[in-house]
Amino acid sequence: MTQNRSPDRSAERIRPPAAGWISWVALALMTTSSVASLRPAPTMAVYGLACVFLYLVPALVFLLPTSLVSAELASGWKGGVYNWVARGISKPAGFFAVWCQFAMTIFYYPSLLGYVASTLAYVFDPGLASNGLWTATVIVVAYWSGVWVSSRGTKGVAGLASGGLIIGTLVPGVVLVVLGFVFLGQGNAPAAPMDAGSLLPEWAGLASLVLIVNNFLSYSGMEMNAVHVSSLRNPAKQFPKAMFLAMGLVLLIFILPALAVSWVVPAGELSLTAGVMQAFDAVFAQFGWQVLTPVVGVMLVMASLGGMLTWLAGPSKGLLLISRQEGYLPPVLQKRNKHGVQQNILVAQGLVTTVIALLYAFVPDVSSTYWIFSVITTQVYLIMYLLMFVAAVRLRRKEPDHPRGYRAPMLVGLCGIGFAASLAALLVGFIPPSQLGSGNTVSYVLIVGGGALGLGLVVPFLFYRFRKPHWRQPEPEDGVTAEPAS
């Protein structure tokens, strides 16, 4: 433990080299890049003005608590969710939390890169979208390129993720919104009604509940980049600033482009298979600017790959920190390269992802099953949030005087709301979605429940149970045990 070390010397040890520092704006852009994209814009545009409600309610009950609580925690303790939960609850719980964050990404990459493949197909040759070899090639090349870039260090990831967000999300998003306003300014009626009566979605019972509550997950990941807090020059002040900027950007990126699409493109004109590309194409077709469609396609791909980089670099770093301290993973998985990056964890994760991606591309008939697994991983991720909110309250009580750069207002209330929202999303995950069709509900509940227990509890328990004392490789420079973040 590092509590007994002199603060000055500890600070010196934990301070990253100057070349490793990133700015708080870069961290804000990384966070935004890992959470927000234009991809869901056409999906949400179908709900018209009600999409504002569908984003704002989850923002109040999930985004705000998650962001403010993680800003307080990161401004007080380095190491991200592992250290927060380890100190607030227990070290095994900390490992459990970071495992849940890491495991969640397993089923994310194939769907994200499948989207990249179909976006490129839309641009080059629509026929490629149904070509398994094309999809598999794009997934494998993009993923392993991402692993290579991530293994070069956080600063490169921050630069590419920030660049991807600006070029691939902010610029096309602004273009979409400006064209939406021009469309209305030309005297056209919006394709979706924009009166006060359209502010709320139609209440269709369980289906509405599923939609609203599942939208809480739109903001999942806001805490993920806290693991890079030690890369900031003044984490206590800069991390909260980064979170507030990210919160604002995420809201703008989700709401405004979805609204703009709903003004210009009638829901009936949006097709599922072509997704966001068709939305852009339809908007550009309105103005005779379709030559921009392929350019935007490439830009959207850049944004997706930038977002992928942040997810590659974040949770696996948290897993490495706890594994080295407590010996929860075999030494081979704890090895780092000369840039200090957890390369072997990335490679191991890459092998699993490649197998899933190849199944996704070559056996797509199992796609319904794939989506059930993606529910399982988000269920597991929600467990991490439950632990985080409990840990935050306990840390306030256990260590009230621990220096924090930022203190969230009404922390207990925020954690209560965030906990309740996460629990609601967890429970709603057991309601069969569209993809299951008329399938057996009991089987679905058993698969999701069993899968979440297996991936979220059994696997980390096995790592914990079979850990070896000589696998521990604690390092003071990780600074994840006692150092305040300032």
Partner: protein, 148 residues
């Protein structure tokens, strides 16, 4: 870290950023040169009229005919590129989800209207694929989440 190592790190990142920028620009150039908007001919106009009528019948706003022509041409463009194929079905299932743009993406019980429009497009532009696409749509669980 020495000044030399810092400079080396900066140089390596500059190379990385330049390579990524160059690849992106090349990709964009290839994309623009291979891009084909919907083919405008008599057949495309006829199909656009039929789609307009179908959308009107569904109670949906009807876009300008020229826009439908530029978007879907005479063959439905990307919408009709194997809409019932396994990979396209996988992509469609991904769209029947919540508003997340990251790993929080999760399937929901989707609105039925999003399927009605695509069904109308497939009916008019690629009727040979309709039976299989209808089978896919019929297997989905949907609800009326938006006003008519």
């Amino acid at each position: 870290m020495t000044a030399g190592e810092k400079a080396k790190g900066r140089r390596q990142r500059a190379i990385l950023y330049n390579v990524v920028a160059l690849l992106s620009v090349l990709l964009a150039i290839v994309a623009v040169t291979t891009w084909r908007a919907g083919k405008a001919d008599r057949e495309a106009e006829d199909k656009a009229d039929r789609l307009s009528a179908a959308l009107a019948e569904l109670g949906a706003p009807v876009p300008e005919r020229d826009r439908i022509v530029r978007l879907l041409g005479n063959d439905g463009g990307p919408v009709c590129a194997d809409p019932a194929g396994a990979l396209q079905r996988a992509a469609s299932l991904g769209q029947l989800s919540n508003g997340a743009g990251g790993p929080g993406t999760r399937p929901v019980i989707a609105d039925s209207r999003i399927l009605e429009g695509e069904l109308a497009i497939v009916t008019i532009y690629c009727p040979d694929q309709l039976a299989e696409f209808e089978k896919f749509v019929d297997d989905l669980r949907t609800a009326d989440l938006t006003p008519e």
